[in-house]
Symmetry: C2
Subunit: 267 residues, 2 copies
Amino acid sequence: MAATKESPIIFYDLASQENTPWSPNTYKTRLALIHKGLPFRVEYISYPDIAPLMKKLGAPPGSPNSPKFPYTLPVIADPSPEPEGKPIYVSDSWEIAQYLERTYPPPKYPTLFPYDAIAVNYAMTASLGRTAYNALADLAIALIGTNHVLDERGHEYFMRTREEMFGKPLAEVIKEEESKWSTEIRSAWATAGKLLDANGPMDQVGPFVMGKQISDADFRIAGLVLWLRRGEGPEGHRWKELLEWDGGRWGEIWKAVEEMEARSTEV
Amino acid sequence: MAATKESPIIFYDLASQENTPWSPNTYKTRLALIHKGLPFRVEYISYPDIAPLMKKLGAPPGSPNSPKFPYTLPVIADPSPEPEGKPIYVSDSWEIAQYLERTYPPPKYPTLFPYDAIAVNYAMTASLGRTAYNALADLAIALIGTNHVLDERGHEYFMRTREEMFGKPLAEVIKEEESKWSTEIRSAWATAGKLLDANGPMDQVGPFVMGKQISDADFRIAGLVLWLRRGEGPEGHRWKELLEWDGGRWGEIWKAVEEMEARSTEV
């Protein structure tokens, strides 16, 4: 039995003040669910509640090798194929993407991995992780914290754990990272853009990682844009600048994702 | 005018005692030429002659940012489209692969990048570089040196520059690396194998990076097998063991490459 509007996939996302998406990792899963056309209902979880809830549900840890934070989001609960059966819990955005592709395969459901090219798609996601994600992460984390994006309990937890991680106040991290915006951060994204330019001229071959077809690796990019946008707020200037970098490639991807959101399958 | 048997592409490869392929980087280009069905003639160049010859020919350096060794092989000379015109020189295996795909495009010539998925294919080559290549390189280099694979002048140059690079005799490097064969080296290849397993069961989806179709990233793997095989000699045990690792995936790729070699377009 596939997920239906009456019995949708439960998507555990990170809570925030307005309970709207902000996390780059969970956003990949939201977009995968929308792209597949699968009905899903969101449960927003505050940071300190993740581990206790996932243990209670019997969901697997998303980062089993992390000594401090083994339980992470996203997690999905896919309704069991057996009536009255226990749902199938899957954690970690990459595991979830593979699970969805196997369980809701093309051509009935749109593919996350065009041409069954799964491994190369992941290699690109990992490559974007080393360039675009790594360069942006400290700034985005610091903005999410200092601009109090999260719900009260989540915010308290986030500030405490992240300031411990950085060994300094997030306000200081912002100052340091701001000076990197036009240099290190810009340059890391340009490296990613140059790699994607190998596909050929964007106006002929399409702006996406796989050319004309959007795929899982593009959702990594979209998650980063969202992260920065939520961190600095919709009036911020950086996320808008970023959309114009590298021939406007990131803006094209973001536009496609906004169109996906307009036909979201969230119930 | 495309390359013909009478006016083939000139492929500058690294010399060796028998003048047969041994270098992982130039081997990628040899396989790309064969896969495309392009007639090519090989010129074997001894290490100390690379820079002077390439400067004389006006070929671009393959590693322009390397202060010590900017001129590298592979280099190709593609006959000019103009009669009597100067050939087009391209260096660096990745630049050459892109050049060949543009200049000898599918469907007339078999593609190096199925589905025009060029950027993700490169991301996989880079990923294999960080796992399989990096783990094997020191052992392979030390074997090539100590087993005197290269021509006399090339050998002298190779031993001197590589021992300077390692800061110790290559015989010592072999001893150190031998102990890593079943641990670090094995484990790095398993990481690469696990990534490719994401494509699905090999007997159903095919053993190659892109599944059933061989592509440029597979030639990275084949080059590594060749490197080790030439380093320890065809009677060696390691390269044969390696072909059986990870469900026999590397052996399947190597078998396909041997079949390609049997219909080589070398003239």
